[in-house]
């Protein structure tokens, strides 16, 4: 609490100023914070001393070999699906912006179907592809579908092809965000459309494309857990396998959650640095603690200044 006492002064007009400045106190915030802190402590206590959660087991399984392998499959699924999704997204976006009607309609239809059906359903479709096409190939050369599309393959195809539909919209929005005049100027200089895209349009659209792509990657890391329904041996699959045998359901779900959180945290940090490199201006940064403290301190200085000017002639 800062009080600024002001000695009694006589102004020229004869009005005495004996003013005291008392800072506005954010009572509401303090009460809310206190209530929340108590609730949080109660929750933590209830979980920590709960006899139904065997904490030592959690430590035992945290770095379990099977869990580690599952986490590694999850990471690989995420990276491969995103690579497929991004490449496909760029192709679909270019098709959708093309002057060729067939390409445009094909792209729109693809996005309509893949975005309009649940990814879980698509996952099971790919897993059961052998029911429609027992063998795939060209002419006399063909292979058993189940050998080509393994569970891992089905997961990648389903997640990657689905992601392509979402990335297409993100990439298209990025291309459209570049001012029309940039293309005009490039063409007027004698560049072809392809050269203009490569040197002018795509580099400028990255600023808009990268932040949502980071979000998609973080989302994908979690979405890969759906692949557990086809037993793709990802983190959630192995977690389920272990607790099916040991009945340590909650302990293993906590273990899995910790690793998912590690993955998404690393991805978020990576996203921060990539966005900074490309000068992304589209992310909103929260109010920093230092800003908040500076604002609190400034209020006294401001009041002092106001007082001194009030007393001036």
């Amino acid at each position: 609490m800062v009080k600024i006492k002001n000695a009694e002064k006589e102004t020229a007009s004869g009005v005495s100023t004996n003013l005291k400045y008392i800072k506005t106190k954010p009572w509401g915030s303090w009460i809310a914070a206190a209530i929340l802190a108590v609730l949080l402590a109660l929750l933590l206590w209830a979980v920590a001393v709960n006899p139904n959660i065997k904490w030592p087991k959690l430590g035992e399984y945290l770095f379990d070999k099977a869990i580690m392998q599952g986490f590694s499959i999850t990471i690989r699924l995420t990276i491969l699906s995103m690579v497929i999704g991004i490449v496909l997204g760029v192709i679909l976006a270019l098709m959708k912006l093309s002057t060729n009607t067939v390409l445009r309609v094909t792209s729109s239809a693809y996005i309509w179907v893949l975005r309009g059906t649940p990814v879980l359903v698509q996952l099971i479709f790919w897993y059961n592809m052998a029911l429609i096409f027992p063998r795939i190939g060209i002419g006399s050369f063909s292979l058993n579908t189940n050998h080509v599309i393994t569970t891992f393959g089905a997961a990648i195809l389903a997640l990657g092809l689905n992601e392509g539909a979402y990335m297409a919209e993100i990439v298209r929005a990025g291309f459209l965000s570049v001012a029309r005049g940039q293309m005009d100027a490039a063409l007027a200089t004698g560049l072809t459309r392809r050269q203009a895209m490569r040197y002018i349009i795509i580099p400028q659209s990255l600023r808009v494309i990268i932040p949502p792509t980071g979000n998609q990657t973080i989302g994908m890391l979690k979405t890969t857990s759906l692949a557990s329904v086809i037993a793709a041996q990802d983190l959630l699959t192995v977690t389920e396998n272990i607790y099916a045998k040991t009945f340590l359901v909650i302990e293993l779900l906590i273990v899995a959650s910790i690793w998912y959180l590690v993955g998404t945290t690393i991805a978020s940090i990576g996203q921060y640095f990539i966005e900074r490199k490309f000068g992304a201006g589209s992310t909103t940064t929260g109010v920093k603690m230092s800003d908040f403290l500076r604002e609190r301190m400034l209020s006294s200085t401001r009041a002092l200044s106001a007082l001194s000017y009030l007393n001036k002639e």
Binding site: A179, A188, T189, G190, I200, Q204
Partner: protein, 255 residues
């Protein structure tokens, strides 16, 4: 100025949907000549420049550059549409400066100027940058070679844009209201660069609202209204003594 005609429009028409923007335009630009086009907004001036640079295709009539049809290539007795590469190599010969500059935002001033020679003509990075330095020197912005467009004033951006167009060594320069988006105090520096170019003998087609520039620098003045050339003549004579009623009315509003 020679008597050789560099650019000719014969009965050019252009519509956007149901709106006819240009309705039968005839015009000739001789080598080394500075032709200024004035007229009210919506009169088809900018659209015509975009047609000359083949950013838009004309619906009727013919555009001729050095006696050759713009937009078509002749193969014996067969006429074909230009492909992308033919269009691009035509645009190299026709420099264009836009009202809103349109500098590439992801590149420095130097790179803006160098990108054309580098990508289109396959010049080395070093050689293209040398060229950029000479041209930025010419427009008085050599010290801004490493600045991005967002760090430059409007007038500076437009001068870089002129340097960028000149880098392709065009045979004609098109100016589409090059000073209309500028703060009044920045207009002069851009007009000076344009004046220097005209003095050097560059062929120029200038759409402008700067009547002073048209009078002082222009060899021919064209008043364009409702998609046609309403009046054409010597700039000084036309400005002081317009014959067409609409030219009179227009000049009285801008002078």
């Amino acid at each position: 100025m020679s008597d050789k005609i560099l650019l000719e429009a014969r009965g050019v028409e252009k519509s956007f949907g149901h709106i006819k923007v240009i309705r039968g335009l005839d015009l000739k630009v001789r080598e080394g000549e500075t032709v200024c086009i004035i007229g009210p907004s919506g009169g088809g001036k900018s659209t015509f420049l975009r047609c000359v640079n083949f950013l838009e295709k004309i619906d009727r009539g013919a555009l001729l550059f050095k006696g050759q049809l713009v937009g078509y290539s002749k193969h014996g007795s067969i006429l074909r549409d230009w492909n992308e590469h033919e269009a691009a190599s035509y645009r190299v010969k026709v420099g264009m400066v836009f009202q809103h500059f349109n500098l590439y935002n992801n590149m420095t001033a130097g790179a803006n100027v160098a990108i054309g020679p580098r990508v289109v003509n396959g010049e080395s990075q070093g050689k293209a940058m040398e060229r950029a330095k000479i041209l930025l020197e010419k427009v008085g912005l050599i010290e801004k070679i490493n600045s991005y467009p967002s760090q430059l004033s409007g007038g500076q951006q437009q001068r870089v844009a002129i340097a960028r167009a000149l880098a392709m060594e065009p045979e004609i320069m098109l100016f589409d209201e090059a000073t209309s988006a500028l703060d009044p105090e920045l207009v002069g520096e851009v007009l000076q660069v344009m004046k220097d170019l005209a003095t050097e003998g560059m062929t120029m087609l200038v759409v402008t609202h700067e009547i002073g520039f048209a009078r002082q620098v222009g060899d021919t003045l064209i008043f364009m209204d409702q998609g046609v050339v309403a009046e054409k003549g010597d700039p000084k004579e036309m400005i002081s003594n317009p014959k067409c009623q609409r030219t009179k009315e227009f000049l009285s509003t801008v002078l």
